[in-house]
Structure formats: C-alpha cells, structure tokens
C-alpha cells in the first residue's frame, strides 16, 4: 500500500493546493470522513467546513464552502465553489459569508429554501468552530 496519494484542491479562480498527502480529512455532506491511500472510489458533496490535509511536511488546513470531493485509490481532488487557506480567514470573513448566505436564503424561491437554509446553518456552525 502506498503511503501517500495526490491531493488537489481547486477553486474556480485558482488552484490552492497540489501535493502528496498521507491523509485528508473532508467535511462530507453526510459527515466528516478521512481519506487514506487506496480509498475506494467515492464522490461526495461537501458542506462548509475545514479540509485538513496531512502532507509529508506538516498539515495544511483549508476552509471550503460547498463543492465536491472525488476520491480514487490514487488521489483526492476537491472541487470547491469557494476555498481559502485556513490561516487567511478569520471570523470576519466567515461572518461575511454567513450574511451573504442569509441574504440568498431570503431571496430564493421556496423550493430551494431548504437547501439555502441548510447552507446558512452549516456556515453558522463553522463559525462556532472557528473560535
């Protein structure tokens, strides 16, 4: 069994990370999980949370807001709608995102309300964890 695999984190505007990792902790839509090498193929959507990738030289963390993770035995690719390195975001940024999500939730049509409100709740939860 290989002891590391390719880890990629991309956001629409840029590639945030691309390095070999030993394990990646992912905030999946149905709960956090950790991907290790030779993981079975899995595609999961993400909820707002923190991705932690343990690389050869230390662990790096990223805040992601929505997106997908594609996991294959050879690697993990995270396609995030929004992502920031953990050290670049503070409470203020998350609060701004929360506000934006709340406004969106209020404006969106009723059939999408559930999804939008879940997003608000998830970001609020993330905010609590950030303290």
């Amino acid at each position: 069994m290989a002891d590391s695999f390719a880890f990629d984190l991309v956001a629409p505007e840029r590639r945030l990370a691309s390095f070999p990792a030993k394990s990646v902790q992912i905030p999946g839509a149905e709960g956090d999980f950790t991907a290790l090498p030779d993981h079975m193929p899995l595609i999961s959507s993400l909820r707002p949370g923190v991705v932690e990738a343990e690389g050869v030289d230390g662990t790096r963390a990223f805040v992601v807001i929505q997106g997908f993770a594609e996991i294959t035995p050879e690697g993990v690719t995270i396609i995030a709608e929004r992502a920031f390195p953990r050290e670049e975001v503070g409470r203020a940024e998350i609060e701004a995102l929360l506000k934006e999500a709340q406004e969106k939730a209020e404006a969106c049509p009723p059939e999408e309300k559930d999804v939008a409100e879940k997003l608000v709740a998830d970001i609020a939860h993330l905010l609590e964890m950030m303290v």
């Binding site: 991309v10 629409p12 505007e13 840029r14 193929p41 997908f68 594609e70 396609i79």
Partner: protein, 293 residues
C-alpha cells in the same frame, strides 16, 4: 495642395492620436497579463470539473433518470445562443469575429427550421446583432463598469441560463466566445453547454468504468454538479474572452500606433516639400522682379 498651416495641424492631430493609441496599447498589455494569469489560474478547476463530470456522466448517461442537463430534453428544436463579446470596441476584429460566427450559426439553424433565441453578454455583441435579429433577443447581461470578471458574474449568467432551461424555454444552449491562443491569435469558438457534452477520452471506453460510491446519492450529486459545470464553463469562457479582448486590443493598437507613425513621416515630408516650394516660389518672384528692372 493643402496649405502649410493645414498640414501642420494635421501632423499635430495625428501625433496626439498616436499618443492615445500608444497609451491604450500599454494599458491593454498590462491588463492582458492579469487576464492571462487569471485564465491560467482557473484552468485546473475547469479541468477537474470536466474530469469528474466525465466519469459521472459516462456512468449515468444511459440510465432513465439521468437529468435533463445531461441527457437533453429529447428534442433540439429551440436553440439558445449565448453570445459573449466585449463591452468596448477598439479591439480589432474581436467583436465582429464572434458576431460573424454567431450569425452563421443563426442562419444555419434558421435554414434547418429551428427556433433561435439569443442572449448577449457584453454591449458590443448586442449592438451588432440587434439590428438584424432584434426579435430573437431574450435577454442581455450587462458587465459594463466591471474591472475584472469574477466567478460571481459567471454565476449570474448561469442562473439566468439555467432558469430559462428549467422553464423549458430552450433545448440546446451554445456559448460563443473567443478562445485565447496568443496575443495575435484569438479563435472564435462555439461550445455547447446544455446538454453537457462529455468528451470521449481515447481508450477510456476500453478501460473498465470506475464505479463510484456516492454521498449523498448519485442523483443529488449530479443535480448539483451539472449546474456547477455549466457555471464553470461560462466562467472559463468569460476569462478566455477577457484575455482575448486585451490581446486583440493590444495588437490592434500596436498597428494603429505604427500606422500613425508612418502617416506622420509622410505628412512631414509633404510639409517640408511645400515649405521649400513656397520659398523657391518667393525667390523666383524676387529674382524675376529684380531682373525686370
């Protein structure tokens, strides 16, 4: 023969035009670098998105429940053309080449008896198409006053397009934009975004398809991934377009500056000749006057 004063004014005016085109060229060069970097930085996302979607789509395509965004509506009667152009002119053939491509497509579709609808992004394309196809317009997205295109702009356009698709307003959507190849070469491109086109990889059909686990489930993931893929394609088209626009403007302004230089040289020669001619004429007058005495 224009008078000396006229020529002098003319030279001055061409000189100031040259200053302006030179400045525009330098501004475009600076913006081009930024636009190109942005386009390159966005590429990994589009590639990963395409790869994931490709894997998913190949597996889901044949199933009955595949979403419409992937499988299509089962008809190709109504086409939506999203024509992306610049907000500003003075960039060579940039806008007209997209418009020309779109026009050819419109005529082809009309000849085939299809219904065509047009959504324009960018003022220039709207102006050029409005004259002939004003009745086909269903909307316009205004990006003027915007310094850099962001993902948010792509989301706005995508929401507009997807909303209309959900409402059953069209069956096939194609985006028109200029693909950035180099500073001197931009390729007008049409790309179908709805239903999603899955690129067939060479040899991929041979290899055993990957069977993924899905979380939450396949349908839900596809339902979220497909709109995002549309957004991603629109976003990369916007970025390619922005880089192409600056590239086209830069080379157009470069040749304008060069032309102005040539014109100044020619006018200066003409100016000197007529000045000398005037002096010679005066001398002849004086001499022949003296001889007559």
């Amino acid at each position: 023969m224009p008078s000396l004063k006229d020529l002098k004014n003319r030279i001055e005016s061409v000189k100031s035009t040259r200053k302006i085109t030179k400045a525009m060229q330098m501004v475009a060069a600076a913006k081009l670098r930024r636009a190109q970097e942005a386009a390159e930085a966005a590429r990994p996302y589009a590639e990963s998105m395409g790869a994931v979607l490709g894997n998913l789509a190949r597996a889901a395509r044949d199933s009955e429940s595949a979403p419409k965004l992937l499988k299509g509506t089962g008809s190709d009667q109504t086409h939506l053309l999203v024509v992306m152009t610049a907000e500003r002119g003075l960039c060579g053939g940039f806008n007209s080449s997209i418009v020309r491509l779109a026009k050819t497509r419109i005529e082809d579709l009309k000849a085939a008896g299809k219904t065509v609808k047009i959504l324009t992004v960018g003022r220039k394309g709207r102006e050029q198409l409005k004259r002939e196809y004003g009745d086909l317009f269903i909307g316009h997205v205004d990006l003027s006053g915007l310094k850099n295109v962001g993902y948010g702009n792509a989301e706005t356009i995508a929401r507009e397009v997807l909303g209309r698709f959900d409402a059953g307003e069209f069956d096939v959507a194609t985006i028109f934009f200029n693909r950035f190849k180099s500073v001197i070469s931009q390729i007008p491109t049409a790309r179908q975004i709805i239903p999603a086109v899955v690129e067939e990889e060479e040899g991929a059909a041979e290899a055993a398809p990957r069977f993924y686990e899905y979380e939450p489930d396949e349908e839900e993931i596809l339902a979220r991934l497909l709109p995002q893929a549309v957004t991603s394609q629109i976003f990369s088209a916007l970025l390619e377009n922005a880089a192409s626009e600056q590239g086209a403007r830069m080379s157009a302004m470069d040749s304008a500056t060069r032309n102005a230089g040539e014109m100044i040289d020619k006018l200066t020669i003409l100016y000197n000749r007529s000045r000398q001619a005037a002096i010679t004429k005066e001398l002849i007058e004086i001499i022949s006057g003296a001889e007559a005495l």
